[in-house]
């Protein structure tokens, strides 16, 4: 009964979050824009520029050398191997960038309720802090993942349609699956949970968003490393990182419940 009630309350709050967001679609515009840009960028570099300049990717010795990290794709032409390397590298960027757009949603989650004066009646119900925070994280995560997965579909369709022969098949690997099914959602969970913690500790939405920007820094570091080719994670390494991220998320979730001070939020925030 208790567990059933808990799920009922989480479901009710999550439904409210999604309904509220569906009527405020403009809040999702940054996520959409970032997703579209992330979609255009790899195709611009791996397909459009070589096509427009007439210079094959396989003709660039540095790119060919760097793309060797992909490994086990000797049957592909040098250009196809470089394309595969680029599409693999951009996949991580592609899966992570929507998170940056969703940060605003998560950062606003608790402080927004407080400022709208909707938090006090909510806290006067039997809802627990854990239930409230789970609903808040899922409320920002699910739309982000939906957009991310829709983009991933377009990304793969684009690769099938535009990449060199053999690249699409090579993309359907354990590594891609790990990136899409584990690293992407786990990174999103960690970032959004951190944003929720910030949202429940600061006193206004502007400060929450300013702190939220800090969470993007590690993501940016990963992306820079990707561009320079200095970071290549094998499927095994990705699985380890993914599990590590899940562990970090669990710790952050527990921490967020511990630092959510109902009293302080009601009394000190104005």
């Amino acid at each position: 009964m208790g567990r059933e009630m808990m799920f009922m309350r989480i479901r009710a709050l999550l439904a409210k979050e999604l309904l509220d967001l569906s009527r405020n679609r403009i809040a999702l515009v940054p996520v959409g824009i970032i997703t579209i840009l992330s979609l255009l960028l790899p195709f611009g570099i791996a397909v459009a520029i070589p096509f427009l300049t007439g210079q094959e990717l396989g003709g660039d010795a540095d790119l060919v050398r760097v793309s060797a990290v992909v490994g086990g794709q000797e049957h592909l032409s040098p250009s196809a191997r470089v394309q595969l390397f680029l599409f693999q590298q951009f996949l991580m960027l592609f899966l992570m960038t929507p998170i940056t757009g969703a940060m605003a949603l998560a950062a606003h989650a608790v402080v927004g309720e407080k400022q709208a004066r909707t938090l006090e009646p909510l806290l006067a119900t039997p809802v627990t802090t854990g239930e409230l925070l789970v609903a808040k994280v899922l409320g920002a995560l699910l739309p982000t993942l939906a957009i991310s997965l829709a983009g991933l579909g377009l990304y793969l369709i684009g690769i099938v349609a535009m990449a060199a022969p053999g690249v699409a098949a090579a993309m359907l690997s354990r590594r891609t699956l790990l990136l899409a099914a584990l690293i992407g959602p786990a990174s999103a969970l960690v970032s959004l949970q951190a944003a929720i913690i910030i949202s429940s500790r600061v006193h206004d939405a502007r400060t929450a968003q300013q702190f939220g920007v800090l969470i993007i820094i590690p993501l940016a570091a990963v992306l820079v490393a990707q561009f320079t080719g200095s970071l290549w994670l094998s499927a095994t390494a990705l699985a380890m990182v993914g599990l590590g991220l899940v562990g970090v998320w669990i710790l952050l979730a527990l921490f967020s419940v511990a630092v959510f001070e109902r009293e302080s939020i009601l009394i000190r925030w104005r």
Binding site: L13, D20, P126, T128, E263
Partner: protein, 304 residues
Amino acid sequence: MISAQRLTRRFGARAVVDDVSFEVSRSEIVALLGPNGAGKTTTMRMLAGLIAPTSGAIAIDGVALTRATGAALRARIGFLTESPGLWDRLTVRENLGVYAALYGLAQPERAIDRAIEVFQLSSHAPARAAELSKGTRQKVALARALLHEPQVLLLDEPTSGLDPEITRGVRHFLDGRRAAGCAVLVATHNLDEAERLADRVAVLHERLLAIDRPAALRQRLTTGRLIIRVTGDLSRSLGTVRQFDAAAAIEGTALVLRVADAGRQTPAIVAALVAAGAGIVEVRPEMPALEDVYLRLVGDSNRA
């Protein structure tokens, strides 16, 4: 039903609520009166389980309010916050729907329909909260607080900013809840409302200055003056009443005299006036308004 024993809440060194004890029984409405910053909202929040007292104890229906019992007891309480706190982008029905689920109601749609009917919100049910007038928002917030039919109601300024018609409706509704056996605590600035609505009035100014029936509170400041209106010659009647108070006087169209015990002396005074040929129009002890009592209590507290 609601029991607050020696409640104290400090913020730093400052006591916002200091050693406050009172009870609200079933079928009783108690009005919590006090100036801004008197600790009314803090008291309400403590009773609703939103903030913990620094010391003291709260029990709802005999169950001590603690961290362990908080969630279960909050399910039995209907709390109207100072601000309606509706989700603007959700409709009235959707706002109520979320709360029906949070309270785990077995038949949420039925409860929502009933709340909408009771508060005459049918025409507003499909409207988003952002589109509602202040009065309608307050009605929705009240409907939300009552959705799960709580036996304990904590209402912070329930009629604040409402027009007289809606105010009367709310008052009528609270009368109904009292008749249904609810314990109701209403924090208000509105003395008239407190007097009309409440069985007892608690005057709070950090400490509980007084708690009693409105009439009993007024009685505390009784001046001991008797006001008498008579027909006939007022000067002649004045002579008659001066047997009882040598300092009796005419004020406007009434005789005013000070008596030690109005209840015991009034029949004799009336009999003397009638014997002297005066017709009695009105005899009443001068009673202060609740406002005077309140201002006196709060003023004394400020000076202390």
